[in-house]
Amino acid sequence: MTFINYAAREINCKIVYYGPGLGGKTTNIKYVYEKTNPNSKGKLISLATETDRTLFFDFLPLDLGEIRGFRTRFHLYTVPGQVFYDASRKLILKGVDGVVFVADSQAARMEANLESLRNLELNLKEQGYNLAAIPYVLQLNKRDLPSALPVEEMKKQLSRKGEPVFEAIASKGNGVFETLKTIAKMVLIELRKGR
Protein backbone atom coordinates (compact mmCIF):
# COMPACT_ATOMS: atom_id res chain seq x y z
CA MET A 1 0.00 0.00 0.00
CA THR A 2 1.82 3.05 -1.22
CA PHE A 3 1.00 6.21 0.71
CA ILE A 4 0.87 9.20 -1.61
CA ASN A 5 0.79 12.49 0.25
CA TYR A 6 -0.02 15.33 -2.15
CA ALA A 7 0.04 17.86 0.67
CA ALA A 8 3.61 17.07 1.75
CA ARG A 9 4.51 15.88 -1.76
CA GLU A 10 5.78 12.53 -0.58
CA ILE A 11 5.50 8.93 -1.69
CA ASN A 12 5.98 6.25 0.97
CA CYS A 13 6.48 2.61 0.03
CA LYS A 14 6.92 -0.46 2.21
CA ILE A 15 9.35 -3.26 1.49
CA VAL A 16 9.46 -6.41 3.61
CA TYR A 17 12.41 -8.80 3.92
CA TYR A 18 11.09 -12.31 4.47
CA GLY A 19 12.81 -15.67 4.91
CA PRO A 20 13.89 -18.39 7.35
CA GLY A 21 15.47 -17.66 10.72
CA LEU A 22 19.17 -16.73 10.62
CA GLY A 23 19.03 -16.33 6.83
CA GLY A 24 20.46 -12.81 6.93
CA LYS A 25 17.44 -10.44 6.72
CA THR A 26 18.58 -8.22 9.55
CA THR A 27 22.15 -8.31 8.20
CA ASN A 28 20.82 -6.96 4.87
CA ILE A 29 19.18 -3.90 6.33
CA LYS A 30 21.97 -3.26 8.82
CA TYR A 31 24.36 -3.10 5.88
CA VAL A 32 22.06 -0.69 4.05
CA TYR A 33 21.96 1.42 7.19
CA GLU A 34 25.75 1.50 7.55
CA LYS A 35 26.37 2.41 3.93
CA THR A 36 23.72 5.08 3.49
CA ASN A 37 24.64 8.68 4.15
CA PRO A 38 23.06 10.26 7.23
CA ASN A 39 20.79 12.64 5.29
CA SER A 40 19.07 9.80 3.52
CA LYS A 41 18.24 7.56 6.42
CA GLY A 42 16.38 7.57 9.70
CA LYS A 43 17.03 5.58 12.81
CA LEU A 44 17.33 1.81 12.53
CA ILE A 45 14.85 0.26 14.95
CA SER A 46 15.42 -3.36 15.93
CA LEU A 47 12.97 -5.15 18.18
CA ALA A 48 15.16 -8.14 18.97
CA THR A 49 15.77 -10.77 21.62
CA GLU A 50 18.86 -10.67 23.84
CA THR A 51 20.53 -13.03 21.41
CA ASP A 52 19.93 -10.68 18.47
CA ARG A 53 17.15 -12.69 16.88
CA THR A 54 14.40 -10.51 15.45
CA LEU A 55 11.46 -10.56 17.85
CA PHE A 56 8.95 -8.32 16.08
CA PHE A 57 10.63 -6.36 13.31
CA ASP A 58 13.56 -4.26 12.16
CA PHE A 59 12.63 -0.94 10.61
CA LEU A 60 14.72 1.40 8.47
CA PRO A 61 13.29 4.48 6.72
CA LEU A 62 15.20 5.53 3.60
CA ASP A 63 14.86 8.74 1.64
CA LEU A 64 15.81 8.18 -1.97
CA GLY A 65 15.42 11.75 -3.19
CA GLU A 66 12.90 13.32 -5.53
CA ILE A 67 10.96 11.90 -8.37
CA ARG A 68 8.66 14.23 -10.31
CA GLY A 69 8.71 16.67 -7.39
CA PHE A 70 7.76 14.02 -4.84
CA ARG A 71 10.11 12.92 -2.07
CA THR A 72 10.43 9.19 -2.40
CA ARG A 73 10.66 7.26 0.85
CA PHE A 74 11.06 3.56 1.38
CA HIS A 75 10.30 1.88 4.66
CA LEU A 76 12.27 -1.33 4.98
CA TYR A 77 11.02 -3.97 7.41
CA THR A 78 12.30 -7.44 8.28
CA VAL A 79 10.10 -10.13 9.78
CA PRO A 80 11.20 -12.55 12.49
CA GLY A 81 12.11 -15.75 10.64
CA GLN A 82 11.69 -18.23 13.46
CA VAL A 83 8.68 -20.43 12.76
CA PHE A 84 6.79 -19.71 15.98
CA TYR A 85 6.65 -15.95 15.36
CA ASP A 86 4.04 -16.34 12.65
CA ALA A 87 1.52 -13.96 14.22
CA SER A 88 4.09 -11.15 14.09
CA ARG A 89 5.00 -11.92 10.48
CA LYS A 90 1.38 -11.48 9.44
CA LEU A 91 1.27 -8.04 11.05
CA ILE A 92 4.44 -6.86 9.32
CA LEU A 93 3.13 -7.91 5.91
CA LYS A 94 0.16 -5.55 6.17
CA GLY A 95 0.34 -2.83 3.56
CA VAL A 96 3.39 -4.29 1.83
CA ASP A 97 4.41 -2.99 -1.61
CA GLY A 98 7.27 -5.35 -2.34
CA VAL A 99 8.90 -8.45 -0.84
CA VAL A 100 12.53 -9.62 -0.76
CA PHE A 101 12.92 -13.28 0.10
CA VAL A 102 16.29 -13.89 1.74
CA ALA A 103 17.12 -17.58 1.32
CA ASP A 104 19.91 -19.33 3.21
CA SER A 105 22.17 -21.13 0.71
CA GLN A 106 23.36 -23.82 3.10
CA ALA A 107 22.15 -27.24 2.04
CA ALA A 108 20.91 -27.95 5.56
CA ARG A 109 18.61 -24.90 5.38
CA MET A 110 16.80 -25.77 2.14
CA GLU A 111 13.86 -27.28 3.98
CA ALA A 112 13.60 -24.12 6.12
CA ASN A 113 13.68 -21.97 2.96
CA LEU A 114 10.84 -23.94 1.45
CA GLU A 115 8.79 -23.80 4.62
CA SER A 116 9.26 -20.05 4.91
CA LEU A 117 8.33 -19.53 1.26
CA ARG A 118 5.14 -21.52 1.69
CA ASN A 119 4.42 -19.49 4.79
CA LEU A 120 4.91 -16.26 2.81
CA GLU A 121 2.51 -17.35 0.09
CA LEU A 122 -0.07 -18.31 2.69
CA ASN A 123 0.24 -15.12 4.73
CA LEU A 124 0.06 -12.95 1.62
CA LYS A 125 -3.05 -14.75 0.50
CA GLU A 126 -4.63 -14.24 3.90
CA GLN A 127 -4.22 -10.49 3.43
CA GLY A 128 -5.65 -10.59 -0.06
CA TYR A 129 -2.32 -10.36 -1.87
CA ASN A 130 -0.92 -12.77 -4.39
CA LEU A 131 2.81 -13.52 -4.61
CA ALA A 132 2.45 -13.83 -8.37
CA ALA A 133 1.19 -10.25 -8.64
CA ILE A 134 3.37 -8.22 -6.26
CA PRO A 135 6.94 -6.95 -6.80
CA TYR A 136 9.17 -9.78 -5.60
CA VAL A 137 12.89 -10.53 -5.55
CA LEU A 138 14.73 -13.69 -4.48
CA GLN A 139 18.10 -13.33 -2.76
CA LEU A 140 20.37 -16.34 -2.34
CA ASN A 141 22.42 -15.37 0.71
CA LYS A 142 25.47 -16.86 2.39
CA ARG A 143 27.13 -17.71 -0.91
CA ASP A 144 30.47 -17.70 0.94
CA LEU A 145 29.75 -20.83 2.94
CA PRO A 146 31.29 -24.14 1.78
CA SER A 147 27.99 -25.99 2.12
CA ALA A 148 26.17 -23.57 -0.20
CA LEU A 149 24.02 -25.35 -2.78
CA PRO A 150 24.59 -24.61 -6.48
CA VAL A 151 22.64 -21.55 -7.66
CA GLU A 152 20.78 -23.48 -10.34
CA GLU A 153 19.62 -26.06 -7.83
CA MET A 154 18.33 -23.32 -5.51
CA LYS A 155 16.54 -21.50 -8.29
CA LYS A 156 14.84 -24.69 -9.34
CA GLN A 157 13.45 -25.20 -5.87
CA LEU A 158 12.72 -21.64 -4.81
CA SER A 159 11.95 -19.60 -7.91
CA ARG A 160 8.22 -18.95 -8.20
CA LYS A 161 7.59 -16.73 -11.19
CA GLY A 162 10.79 -15.84 -13.02
CA GLU A 163 11.54 -13.18 -10.40
CA PRO A 164 14.96 -11.46 -10.33
CA VAL A 165 17.48 -13.60 -8.40
CA PHE A 166 20.59 -12.23 -6.69
CA GLU A 167 23.49 -14.00 -5.08
CA ALA A 168 24.59 -12.35 -1.87
CA ILE A 169 26.99 -12.40 1.03
CA ALA A 170 25.08 -10.00 3.21
CA SER A 171 27.65 -10.04 6.00
CA LYS A 172 30.14 -8.54 3.52
CA GLY A 173 27.54 -6.46 1.71
CA ASN A 174 27.74 -8.34 -1.58
CA GLY A 175 24.43 -8.24 -3.41
CA VAL A 176 22.66 -6.18 -0.76
CA PHE A 177 22.18 -2.96 -2.74
CA GLU A 178 21.57 -4.80 -6.01
CA THR A 179 18.66 -6.53 -4.30
CA LEU A 180 17.29 -3.34 -2.77
CA LYS A 181 17.55 -1.29 -5.96
CA THR A 182 15.76 -3.93 -7.95
CA ILE A 183 12.83 -4.30 -5.58
CA ALA A 184 12.54 -0.50 -5.21
CA LYS A 185 12.42 -0.10 -8.98
CA MET A 186 9.79 -2.78 -9.30
CA VAL A 187 7.65 -1.00 -6.70
CA LEU A 188 7.93 2.33 -8.51
CA ILE A 189 7.07 0.72 -11.83
CA GLU A 190 3.99 -0.72 -10.17
CA LEU A 191 3.14 2.78 -8.95
CA ARG A 192 3.44 4.09 -12.51
CA LYS A 193 0.84 1.58 -13.64
CA GLY A 194 -1.49 3.30 -11.21
CA ARG A 195 -3.45 0.09 -10.55
Binding site: F3, Y6, H75, L91, K94
Partner: protein
Protein backbone atom coordinates in the same frame (compact mmCIF):
# COMPACT_ATOMS: atom_id res chain seq x y z
CA UNK B 1 -8.10 -5.42 -3.13
CA UNK B 2 -5.68 -5.31 -0.24
CA UNK B 3 -3.17 -3.22 -2.17
CA UNK B 4 -5.39 -0.15 -2.05
CA UNK B 5 -3.09 2.86 -1.96
CA UNK B 6 -3.66 5.66 0.51
CA UNK B 7 -3.85 9.10 -1.06
CA UNK B 8 -3.81 12.29 0.97
CA UNK B 9 -4.77 15.53 -0.77
CA UNK B 10 -4.15 19.09 0.33
CA UNK B 11 -7.78 19.69 1.25
CA UNK B 12 -8.07 16.81 3.73
CA UNK B 13 -4.55 17.37 4.97
CA UNK B 14 -5.38 20.95 5.95
CA UNK B 15 -8.58 19.88 7.67
CA UNK B 16 -6.78 17.15 9.58
CA UNK B 17 -4.03 19.54 10.61
CA UNK B 18 -6.57 22.05 11.86
CA UNK B 19 -8.36 19.46 13.95
CA UNK B 20 -5.25 18.05 15.58
CA UNK B 21 -3.80 21.49 16.20
CA UNK B 22 -6.97 22.50 18.01
CA UNK B 23 -7.10 19.18 19.80
CA UNK B 24 -3.58 19.69 21.02
CA UNK B 25 -4.35 23.01 22.61
CA UNK B 26 -7.61 21.68 24.10
CA UNK B 27 -5.72 18.75 25.63
CA UNK B 28 -2.75 20.82 26.63
CA UNK B 29 -0.65 18.11 25.00
CA UNK B 30 2.97 18.27 23.90
CA UNK B 31 2.47 16.41 20.70
CA UNK B 32 -0.36 14.94 18.67
CA UNK B 33 0.29 12.59 15.91
CA UNK B 34 -1.80 10.81 13.28
CA UNK B 35 -0.48 7.55 11.80
CA UNK B 36 -1.91 5.12 9.31
CA UNK B 37 -2.27 1.59 10.72
CA UNK B 38 0.60 0.53 8.49
CA UNK B 39 2.94 2.99 10.17
CA UNK B 40 2.88 5.92 7.74
CA UNK B 41 2.76 9.33 9.36
CA UNK B 42 -0.21 11.40 8.16
CA UNK B 43 0.02 14.58 10.21
CA UNK B 44 1.49 15.93 13.42
CA UNK B 45 1.23 18.96 15.64
CA UNK B 46 3.40 20.13 18.51
CA UNK B 47 6.92 19.85 19.82
CA UNK B 48 8.31 17.75 16.99
CA UNK B 49 12.00 18.61 17.14
CA UNK B 50 12.87 16.37 20.05
CA UNK B 51 11.25 13.23 18.66
CA UNK B 52 12.01 10.92 15.77
CA UNK B 53 8.52 10.92 14.31
CA UNK B 54 9.18 8.30 11.64
CA UNK B 55 10.29 5.82 14.27
CA UNK B 56 7.38 6.81 16.49
CA UNK B 57 4.93 6.15 13.66
CA UNK B 58 6.29 2.71 12.94
CA UNK B 59 6.42 1.67 16.60
CA UNK B 60 2.94 3.01 17.39
CA UNK B 61 1.55 1.04 14.45
CA UNK B 62 3.40 -2.09 15.59
CA UNK B 63 2.07 -1.59 19.08
CA UNK B 64 -1.53 -1.24 17.90
CA UNK B 65 -1.22 -4.18 15.53
CA UNK B 66 0.11 -6.42 18.30
CA UNK B 67 -2.55 -5.24 20.75
CA UNK B 68 -5.34 -5.80 18.18
CA UNK B 69 -4.15 -9.35 17.73
CA UNK B 70 -4.03 -9.87 21.48
CA UNK B 71 -7.60 -8.61 21.73
CA UNK B 72 -8.86 -11.02 19.09
CA UNK B 73 -6.95 -13.83 20.77
CA UNK B 74 -8.98 -13.42 23.94
CA UNK B 75 -12.23 -12.80 22.08
CA UNK B 76 -12.37 -9.00 22.20
CA UNK B 77 -12.95 -6.95 19.08
CA UNK B 78 -10.28 -4.44 20.06
CA UNK B 79 -8.84 -2.51 22.99
CA UNK B 80 -9.97 0.94 22.05
CA UNK B 81 -7.33 2.79 24.03
CA UNK B 82 -3.71 2.15 24.93
CA UNK B 83 -2.22 4.19 27.70
CA UNK B 84 1.43 4.21 28.74
CA UNK B 85 2.38 6.15 31.81
CA UNK B 86 5.89 7.46 32.19
CA UNK B 87 7.72 9.42 34.87
CA UNK B 88 7.48 12.59 32.87
CA UNK B 89 5.55 11.97 29.68
CA UNK B 90 2.53 9.82 28.99
CA UNK B 91 1.36 8.23 25.78
CA UNK B 92 -2.31 7.93 24.83
CA UNK B 93 -3.02 5.86 21.74
CA UNK B 94 -6.44 5.35 20.16
CA UNK B 95 -7.80 4.17 16.84
CA UNK B 96 -9.91 6.54 14.75
CA UNK B 97 -12.41 5.25 12.22
CA UNK B 98 -10.95 1.76 12.43
CA UNK B 99 -8.03 2.68 10.24
CA UNK B 100 -5.92 5.47 11.66
CA UNK B 101 -4.00 5.81 14.93
CA UNK B 102 -4.09 8.93 17.06
CA UNK B 103 -1.13 9.38 19.40
CA UNK B 104 -1.16 12.00 22.14
CA UNK B 105 1.93 12.74 24.21
CA UNK B 106 1.30 14.77 27.34
CA UNK B 107 2.89 15.58 30.69
CA UNK B 108 1.72 16.93 34.07
CA UNK B 109 0.26 20.02 32.42
CA UNK B 110 -2.61 17.80 31.30
CA UNK B 111 -4.39 14.71 32.61
CA UNK B 112 -5.64 11.38 31.35
CA UNK B 113 -9.25 12.41 31.96
CA UNK B 114 -8.95 15.55 29.89
CA UNK B 115 -7.13 13.80 27.06
CA UNK B 116 -9.70 11.01 26.95
CA UNK B 117 -12.59 13.42 26.78
CA UNK B 118 -11.13 15.65 24.10
CA UNK B 119 -9.84 12.77 22.01
CA UNK B 120 -13.31 11.25 21.95
CA UNK B 121 -14.79 14.43 20.52
CA UNK B 122 -11.95 15.10 18.10
CA UNK B 123 -12.05 11.52 16.85
CA UNK B 124 -15.55 11.92 15.44
CA UNK B 125 -14.44 14.92 13.48
CA UNK B 126 -11.34 13.18 12.22
CA UNK B 127 -13.33 10.10 11.24
CA UNK B 128 -15.48 12.18 8.91
CA UNK B 129 -12.47 13.70 7.18
CA UNK B 130 -10.74 10.32 6.93
CA UNK B 131 -13.85 8.89 5.33
CA UNK B 132 -13.52 11.38 2.50
CA UNK B 133 -9.82 10.61 2.25
CA UNK B 134 -10.50 6.87 1.89
CA UNK B 135 -13.15 7.49 -0.73
CA UNK B 136 -10.78 9.65 -2.73
CA UNK B 137 -8.02 7.05 -2.31
CA UNK B 138 -10.26 4.46 -3.90
CA UNK B 139 -10.93 6.61 -6.95
CA UNK B 140 -8.82 6.17 -10.06
CA UNK B 141 -5.88 8.49 -9.55
CA UNK B 142 -6.54 10.63 -12.59
CA UNK B 143 -10.01 11.62 -11.54
CA UNK B 144 -8.86 12.47 -8.03
CA UNK B 145 -5.75 14.46 -8.81
CA UNK B 146 -6.37 16.04 -12.17
CA UNK B 147 -3.77 13.87 -13.85
CA UNK B 148 -1.45 11.47 -12.09
CA UNK B 149 2.18 12.61 -11.91
CA UNK B 150 3.27 9.00 -11.61
CA UNK B 151 2.06 7.83 -14.96
CA UNK B 152 4.86 9.97 -16.37
CA UNK B 153 7.70 8.42 -14.36
CA UNK B 154 10.45 7.35 -16.74
CA UNK B 155 13.09 4.67 -16.30
CA UNK B 156 15.66 7.49 -16.08
CA UNK B 157 13.74 9.09 -13.19
CA UNK B 158 13.95 5.82 -11.33
CA UNK B 159 17.61 5.23 -12.17
CA UNK B 160 18.46 8.73 -10.97
CA UNK B 161 17.20 7.89 -7.48
CA UNK B 162 19.93 5.31 -7.18
CA UNK B 163 22.86 7.16 -8.66
CA UNK B 164 25.05 7.58 -5.62
Amino acid sequence: MAGQDLVLHEEEFNKIRDVITRLRSECNAKLIFLVDKNGQQIAASGELESIDTTALASLAAGNVAATDSLARLIGEKEFSILFHEGERDNLHISVVGGRVILVVIFDERSSLGLVRLRVKKGSNELATILDVMMKKSAMPRKAAAGGSPFAEITDEDIDKLFSD
